[in-house]
């Protein structure tokens, strides 16, 4: 049997998240096929075929998939999935939207946010904001998994998979796309950045958030992240939230600035390789997670850090 991965793309490029899913899928020791659905996805299919570990790329090109609507994609995945032993996608807003819908249509249970594939039937996933890890066994005929991207390395180029075109399923007529607004960034994207600089409530305003953190992020080629408190206060956009209910990141370096270290925030960054915390309260819980803690006023320290790195 074979593993099916639902590729994620924005019609310009294959998302790095999908590369991590490919690495996760290799644990099954079976052939890996990648489904690329969209409108005008020839180039995406070609780049998918070049990723190491992919045996075949299945292409479905149709206006019904132009906006990745789960109502249209789920019947397609269901039609294809019957021949596969497992279907995987990234635990991103795309994968989390789609795969539970597929699971219900197939009448199988799914396992979300898998951080480790122990064997083809056994999976580890976090519970309770990552305070606990559950090991689950599934006897379902098809294993449906979303994979936590930060837990698996991204597969690199070097493959040469065959590309096969498959027919589309009809537009389900249950949803209509209106608009997608993606803020253009001159920085790496949060989920896969090698360095993340995150700010908390202590930044005090949207202006200060930018003024204080953006130069440091630019210096380190880092993505910016935030706590829920900072987002709720309007200092940072929603999708910058790191944590249990935001993005989960595991960069080489995570710098937490003016962040107390609530479990819900820790859940989203504790797998980072090196964690730095800057906080003026020596008892802040964030210091229990930091490899390097600096007790200081953030407004002085961040500037000094940025200048010191020149």
């Amino acid at each position: 049997m074979t593993i099916l991965i639902i590729a994620e793309h924005d019609h310009h490029q294959l998302k790095a998240a999908t590369r991590s899913v490919i690495t996760a899928a290799l644990v099954f020791k079976e052939d890996v096929h990648l489904l690329v659905a969209g409108q005008g996805v020839e180039a995406i299919a070609k780049s998918a075929a070049a990723v190491q570990g992919v045996a075949r790329v299945l292409v479905v090109d149709d206006p019904a998939y132009a906006h990745h609507l789960p109502e249209n994609l789920a019947p397609l995945v269901v039609a294809i999935a019957v021949d596969y032993s497992a279907v995987l996608a990234a635990a991103s807003s795309f994968g989390k939207d789609l795969l539970p819908r597929v699971a219900a249509l197939l009448d199988v249970a799914m396992v979300s946010e898998v951080t480790r594939i122990v064997d083809p039937n056994t999976f580890v996933r976090p519970l309770y904001a990552g305070n606990l890890n559950a090991t689950l066994q599934s006897a379902e005929r098809i294993k449906l998994l979303t994979v936590r991207v930060s837990s698996f390395e991204a597969a690199i180029d070097g493959g040469n998979a065959a590309i096969e075109t498959l027919p589309a399923t009809a537009d389900a007529g249950l949803s209509n796309w209106i608009s997608t607004e993606i803020q253009p960034l001159d920085r790496p994207e949060l989920a896969t950045a090698r360095v993340v600089v995150s700010g908390g409530r202590a930044l005090g305003s949207a202006e200060q958030f930018q003024q204080v953190l953006a130069p440091l992020a630019a210096r380190l080629n880092a993505a910016l992240g935030a706590t829920r408190a900072a987002v709720d206060a309007g200092y940072a956009p929603n999708d910058w939230q790191v944590g249990q209910t935001g993005s989960v990141v595991a960069p080489e370096l995570y710098i937490a600035v003016g962040i107390s270290g609530a479990v819900q925030h820790i859940a989203g960054m504790k797998e980072s390789k090196v964690i730095v915390a800057i906080n003026h309260d020596p008892d802040a819980p964030i210091f229990q997670w930091a490899d390097y803690g600096l007790v200081a006023d953030l407004f002085d320290a961040v500037k000094e850090l940025e200048q010191g790195l020149q």
């Binding site: 539970p100 249970a109 689950l136 949803s175 209106i178 989920a191 999708d239 249990q244």
Partner: protein
């Protein structure tokens, strides 16, 4: 227009849960339980839609043991019109929950079904999408804003890097994200009054739904602890450490 809201009873987010001594499950004996925060947001949204005259009735539904009546009381105190418990022996898994909720939706025939984005115990984010699939209706997941009319709902969804808007004909399922609203504070007199209100109870066993668990929990364990770090005394020392310890700082 009728709105059905699904609410789950979960461990209070401020509590640090631990595994049971035998590692077979989570130890939640005697722990403080609350309504799942995302579901409180869903209830709040439904109430605001009723207060705006767009919805006429709000029905809260919980699946779980008889103790889940507590969270239904909370929704009654917030102001829902009716509360319904689908009583089970233990907390069912996601797919079974979706199947049970489907029975209620088919009976109540709401135009909008509001579900939390995720339950903060299992952190699964599955039930809403599964329910939408079983009902064969559209889904607007991770909603930070919704505009409802009698025929359709326009949902603003939180996605990586920005947001997306979709239009769903009704009926539809919407799952609520943190930024949708800030739930109202429940006043004590309302809580006292809610104690007297009836809660309808349906036994899951009578509903002819397969709710047997599909996944076997083998083990629950605490993650490996991080090696303790150090405090540096200055920014200069921090920079030296970073240059030694990571390639990303030059």
């Amino acid at each position: 227009m009728k709105i059905v809201v699904a609410v789950k009873r979960v461990v209070d987010p401020n509590i640090h849960v631990r595994p049971r001594a035998d590692g077979a499950d989570v130890d939640i004996v005697g722990v403080k339980m609350v309504i799942n925060p995302f579901d409180e947001i869903a209830v709040e949204e439904a109430l605001r839609l009723r207060e705006a005259g767009i919805a006429s009735e709000v029905v809260a539904v919980a699946v779980g043991t008889t103790q889940s009546q507590e969270v239904l009381r909370h929704t009654l105190a917030m102001g829902v019109d009716r509360a319904l418990l689908i009583e089970t022996e233990t907390m069912p898994q996601s797919l079974a929950t979706a199947k049970l909720l489907r029975v209620v939706v088919e009976r109540e025939q709401p135009r909008l079904i509001l579900i939390g984005k995720q339950a903060i115990d299992d952190d699964a984010a599955e039930v809403g999408q599964m329910l939408a699939a079983l009902l064969n209706v559209g889904q607007g997941t991770f909603a930070s804003r919704l505009e409802l009319t009698s025929e359709q709902v326009v949902v603003t969804r939180e996605i990586e890097g920005g947001q997306q808007q979709v239009l769903l004909p009704l009926p539809a399922v919407v799952t609520t994200d943190l930024r949708l609203n800030e739930p109202r504070y429940v006043k004590l007199p309302n809580l006292m009054m809610a104690k007297k209100k009836p809660i309808e109870v349906l036994k899951a066993a009578d509903l002819n739904v397969d709710i047997a668990p599909r996944l076997t929990l083998l083990q629950v364990a605490e993650p490996a602890v991080r090696a303790p770090g150090i405090k540096v005394s200055s920014v200069q020392e921090l920079i030296i450490k970073l240059r030694e310890q990571t390639k990303v700082v030059s």
